[in-house]
Amino acid sequence: MIEAVGLTKRYGAKTAVYNLSFQVRPGVVTGFLGPNGSGKSTTMRMILGLDRPTAGHVTIGGHPFRRLPNAPRQVGALLDAKAVHGGRSARSHLLSLAQLAGIPAQRVDEVLGVVGLQDVAKRRSKGFSLGMGQRLGIAAALLGDPQVLLFDEPVNGLDPEGILWVRNLMKKLAAEGRTVFVSSHLMSEMALTADHLIVIGRGQLLADMPVKDFISANSADFARVRTPGAEPAQREKLTSVLVEAGGQVLSEPDGALRVTGLPLPRISDLAHDADVRLWELSPHQASLEEAYMRLTQGAVDYRSTDDRLAHLQPPAQPGQPGYGTPPQPPVQDVPQQGWYAPPPPGQSPYGAAPQAPGQNPYGAAPQAPAQNPYAGAPQAPAPGPYAPPAAPQPGLPQPSDDTSKDVR
């Protein structure tokens, strides 16, 4: 059982983790998700007593890590696969760790077998691939047969066989009643491995719920419907027909319609009855990955931008300012909504879309841990954790993704 209460870590002016409270229970695999730089590793280091929290505290089995009696027998951790002296062999590395906790040398050979490194046990770890390094790190975590296990990105660099192995290992460890805390930035991997999810972004808690709830709260399927582009009247007509039939319709930037609440055959029938031709009618399943992306997109620290190659291309006109002057960014036709997956119709996770009030994907969450820190105006209290209270009121300035993005 790992328990964090109000955990905060500041490095100078930068807050890496802010007021994080959660519990990791034994017997289940708890996934720890968040974009790069969201504070996952910092939290892991604080759990292990490597970094001192600026505020708050974290305990393992009721004790702060530094005061745990014989810590290696109680807590096993994989923090960094490459955190090994390259000149030391895998076996020597594990042996030195085993001796710290009074673990017999036979156990070293045992765990080497468990992770499949027995053939390279005598080789210097310098020559290890990332995947082999991960296996060595996992071996080190398993060494003391601990009740609490922490893994920071354990599947990085592993081959598919290794990923499957890690997945089964985590489940097995949890089934044995251990506390298993696994961080990852891969939602798809966690969906398969974890039973419970803790999602953070920018060092703050975004979600803390069972994976099943997360999936049911976030599954958002819709149908994409396209009418002939040259005939906007057809589109209008279809829209009104679909809305009458009880569907929710949103238009996409390229003119397609996004329909929820109606099954595909019904949409087709309605279109036929209304005498509207369809160019496309396709089912679209929003993956958990997308749900996660939507949840965290406001909390991503490192986002790639278009590579414009501006300075590598010759100046457009000879008279213009050449190198050194940043060219004016061309005005882009960016869709108003999010820059990853637009939220499904009627579901506006960040209060950005002034569309019809609809079900709210995150309001259904069993816990309501905190007000949404990314809803644009952090000070304004919001009842739902990730959504505006209700339909946005016209006339009021709406917090939107775009403005919150600009602020950052």
Partner: protein, 259 residues
């Protein structure tokens, strides 16, 4: 509480399973003995060409330790690497996750590495002395003479302390590169140069290497040099103070900073 004996055992495993230990310690021994032997042979051959003052204050013990000026650098490298590679490899996080008691961890590591350096230092010192004396021919001294045994044992202590001092500095700076970049030029250049500059000389006398190396002298003003305001053991004491300071600094940094 990870028991200190367990940490000591683990640190011993760590130190004996990397090749840098063997290389740095072997080169400390080899360089010191070989260079001392060469200088002893050279001195023996050119003894009559020396000035009278130098001949009168000739210190056969000290001359057999002249290789230490280079050999100590290998000891510095050894000390820095023992601590510094924990940081450069990231192993420090694994180590501290296993031994949350940071003082136990640091001082066990230094005890093991320092003990090893001391043993190698003593072996180096005795080897350099006996080989050097054998090559000095008629100008030799014997281990039974006044102060000679003290100088030889002191030479071993000096090398061991040099390594421990470097470990403390590396624990403070948390980086092998930075520590080597400061320590090697300091001992090889700055300290040597300052000890030859009139005013700075008096300050340089209190540098760890300058003070500590006085323990290896049998003749206090040997080879036309000035006498230090402290005795041989006093000099070593000054060096011990430096070592203690670096260890305290290293401990405070390890205790306070995030790993």
């Amino acid at each position: 509480m990870a028991v200190a004996s367990a940490v000591l055992q683990s640190e011993w495993t760590k130190i004996r399973t990397v090749s840098s230990t063997v290389w740095t310690l072997a080169s400390a021994l080899f360089v010191t003995v070989a260079m001392g032997a060469a200088l002893c042979a050279l001195t023996n051959a050119t003894f009559d060409d020396m000035r009278e003052a130098e001949r009168l204050t000739f210190d056969p013990t000290l001359i057999s330790f002249s290789g230490m000026i280079l050999g100590q650098l290998a000891m510095v490298v050894f000390g820095v690497l023992v601590v510094g590679t924990e940081y450069s490899s990231g192993m420090i996080r694994t180590s501290l996750a296993a031994v949350p008691q940071r003082a136990t961890f640091l001082f066990s590591k230094i005890a093991v590495a320092g003990g090893l350096a001391l043993l190698v230092g003593l072996a180096t010192s005795f080897l350099a002395f006996f080989l050097g004396q054998a090559l000095l021919g008629g100008h030799r001294t014997s281990i039974g003479d006044d102060g000679v045994l003290r100088a030889v044992v002191g030479g071993g202590l000096y090398m061991g302390l040099m390594a421990v001092f470097s470990m403390g500095v590396a624990a403070m700076l948390r980086s092998s590169m930075l520590s080597l970049g400061i320590l090697v030029p300091f001992f090889f250049l700055v300290s040597q140069i300052l000890s030859a500059v009139p005013k700075a000389k008096e300050v340089a006398l209190y540098f760890p290497d300058q003070a500590g190396s006085k323990v290896m002298r049998v003749v206090p003003d040997a080879m036309n040099s000035e006498e230090a305001p402290y005795g041989p053991w006093g000099g070593l004491g000054i060096m011990v103070l430096w070592v203690a300071a670096s260890l305290v600094g290293g401990y405070l940094v390890m205790k306070k900073r995030d790993a």
